[in-house]
């Protein structure tokens, strides 16, 4: 049973078992998406986003056990829609001076613990996953490390799936990174 501290609403629809083909299709989609981002193919990545995308990462505080969700409903580390993501991708790929990612970081996204549920909307699936991002910049041996839980809404499209919403629940309260010029 979820406790009062559970920051995310638990899925209510039917669980799509790991043995079902749909589950495999969704895991493949998430792995393909991670591959695009790891390879810095941002133009390829935005093809996977729905036009009405909501992409966010709420701010978390460390609070007393049992005192409710540690995540704020409004304040966020990421607060994006398709327009802001498109703008940022244009900046990173089409300008010569997006210094935060020039030279590009090397990144690795480990996606695991994928759980899929049906939703009230036909063709839309609630997909929870764990994400671990490793990011290396310049010749620094330090890694930026970010871990969290992603709660996605994936929508079936003509070919494959589109990301309709993603909420990233980071494990850190104060993020140990200089910036989030990369996506998770």
């Amino acid at each position: 049973m979820p406790t009062a501290d559970t920051p995310y609403k638990e899925a209510t629809g039917r669980r799509v078992r790991a043995s079902e083909p749909l589950h495999g299709d969704i895991v493949e989609h998430l792995e393909d998406e991670a591959q695009l981002l790891d390879e810095d193919d941002l133009m390829g990545w935005i093809q996977l986003l729905a036009e009405d995308l909501v992409y966010r990462a709420p701010i978390r505080c460390f609070t007393e056990r049992g005192s409710g969700s540690p995540f704020d409903e409004e304040a966020a580390h990421f607060e994006e829609n398709a327009m802001t993501i498109f703008l940022k991708v244009m900046r990173l790929t089409q300008t010569s001076s997006a210094w935060a990612e020039n030279p590009a970081s090397r990144t690795r996204r480990i996606v695991s613990n994928v759980r899929v549920h049906e939703t009230d909307v036909d063709g839309e699936y609630r997909v929870d996953s764990s994400i671990l991002l490793l990011r290396s910049r310049y010749d620094d041996t330090h890694y930026d490390l970010l871990s969290g839980r992603r709660v996605d809404c994936l929508r079936r499209a003509d070919s494959g799936f589109r990301l309709a919403s993603r909420t990233i629940y980071f494990d850190q309260t104060a993020l140990g990174v200089s910036n989030l010029a990369v996506y998770l």
Binding site: I59, F62, T63, A75, L87, W99, A100, S178, N179
Partner: protein, 471 residues
């Protein structure tokens, strides 16, 4: 025998500190050539001097009043590396106390925010009121706090608390000038950014916190007046057509006037001659009154119906300033920044970003950005949503503007680590003579025209003054 720990207020300051290799701190600042040794970014000894001499003796921004609305509400925040509890008392006043139990030094309050009328230390259950007053140790018959020290002596160290524009500031120096006196003439400008309406501003959630692997002064000196870097570091905004000008000066956002006072700074952008905002482009602005202009393009985070409040609240000179040369970005010495700006968007609309922020030191080569998003209390849901979204999208950890700053600051830090690099200099040699434009109504030290190095140099002289005890 009393402990040899010298209370902070008694640390002798009347001389320039000598570093371990015999160098006087003064010798790292070349006042003639306006150069600062990069050693000030990486030297752990200098960092300790800052923790002792700077942060406990200056006004630190710690919270917005709406984060602790109800009696007993509290948040944990920082003064230098010292953690403090900022609380709302039952009488509505705000208190701040060091979050270090006076018994064995444990972290007293262990939650970042909450509501409590007393804090009981998890270690041995010594109890304190949020304002720091010692209530007692458990098992009274055993007198577990002893009889050598009075209860008053066992209270948490408390700070002075003052407010400006809804933000809460604290200072551990009982002898320091008041916050108002410290801000001095700068509020004439900052009121136009953060204190514009009768209802005032509220905060959108807790502050965003993220870590930059650089010395806090890389951000501190930049915010003390470096408008110039926008042309290169943030050139991508020009490349995307989000920052452009059709005025006589072809470098966007460079026309304007800087005002400064004791290391603090504000930049008033010229939106009359240069008007890089799309809404103002191509308009014959000079034929319009200040109020007409403000109605045509209200300040960031405001709607047309709020413009009347500006007219009521401010002097005609300030209203004129807001219409022609609005203050939009600035800093309070040593480690506080504020931004109230528009961001022209590709679809022709405007995003507004409004933020208070502080650079919290975490070691000589690390600092945390703590950034609050604020919005007018009376703003419509749409306006509030605009501020919430575009403050996150432009500034802060995922902001496409600030992510370039947060990449360059660690690279300055890397430079300051090398034996050769730390002997290099930060240079502030472009000087503009102090001079007010004709009819300039505002106070402070005024530098008109293309942004030069004057105010950033003033940051360093103020800094040196604090660390050598001359201020």
């Amino acid at each position: 025998m009393p402990l040899k720990d010298v209370p902070l207020k008694d640390v002798p300051l009347a001389s320039s500190p000598v570093l371990a290799d015999g160098v006087f701190l003064d010798e790292l600042f070349d006042l003639d050539y306006r150069e600062v040794s990069m050693r000030v970014l990486s030297d752990p000894e200098i960092y300790q001097l800052e923790l002792d001499r700077l942060f406990p003796r200056t006004w630190n921004i710690v919270a917005h009043e709406d984060e602790i609305r109800l009696p007993g509400d509290y948040v944990l925040r920082y003064v230098g590396e010292d953690e403090i509890v900022v609380s709302r008392a039952e009488d509505g006043s705000i208190t701040a106390a060091l979050n270090v139990c006076t018994h064995r030094g444990a972290r007293l309050c262990r939650y970042e925010k909450g509501n409590a009328l007393r804090f009981t230390c998890p270690y041995h259950a010594w109890a304190f009121r949020p304002d720091g007053r010692f209530l007692g140790a458990p098992i009274a018959r055993e007198k577990m706090h002893g009889e050598l020290r009075s209860k008053e002596e066992l209270s948490l160290q408390s700070a002075r608390v003052e407010q400006y524009a809804g933000m809460i500031f604290v200072n551990f120096d009982l002898d320091a000038p008041s916050l108002r006196d410290t801000l001095g003439p700068m509020t004439w400008y900052w009121d136009l950014m953060f204190d514009r309406t009768s209802a005032g501003m509220t905060v959108i959630g807790p502050p965003q916190r993220f870590t930059i692997r650089a010395n806090w002064k890389t951000a501190g000196e930049q915010f003390a007046g470096d408008i110039f870097h926008t042309l290169s570091l943030h050139k991508s905004m020009q490349e995307l057509g989000m920052l452009s000008t059709d005025g006589p000066v072809q470098e966007p956002a460079m026309a304007g006037t800087s005002a400064a006072h004791r290391g603090s700074f504000v930049r008033c952008f010229d939106v009359e001659e240069e008007h890089y905002l799309n809404a103002l482009k191509g308009r014959d602005l000079k034929s319009l009154s200040a109020v007409e202009r403000l109605r045509m393009q209200p300040p960031p985070g405001m709607s047309v119906d709020m413009v009347d409040q500006i007219v009521q609240k401010f002097s005609p000179e300030q209203v004129e300033m807001l219409a022609k040369r609005p203050p939009q970005v600035g800093s309070f010495f040593p480690n506080i920044g504020g931004i109230v700006m528009h961001q022209p968007l590709p679809d022709g609309t405007l995003g507004a970003f409004i933020s208070w922020r502080t650079w919290v030191p975490k070691g000589p080569d690390r600092f945390e950005v703590m950034s609050w998003t604020v919005a007018e209390r009376d703003s419509s849901p749409e306006l509030r949503e605009n501020v919430r979204m575009f403050t996150a999208a432009t500034f802060g950890v995922s902001g496409f503007v600030e992510s370039d700053d947060s990449d360059i600051w660690p690279l300055q830090q890397k430079s300051a680590r090398g034996a050769l690099g730390r002997r290099q200099k930060l240079r502030y040699q472009t000087i503009t003579p102090e001079g007010k434009p004709e009819g300039w109504p505002g106070p402070g030290d005024i530098y008109d025209g293309f942004p030069k190095d004057n105010t950033q140099w003033a940051f360093w002289t103020e800094y040196l003054g604090h660390l050598t005890g001359r201020l």
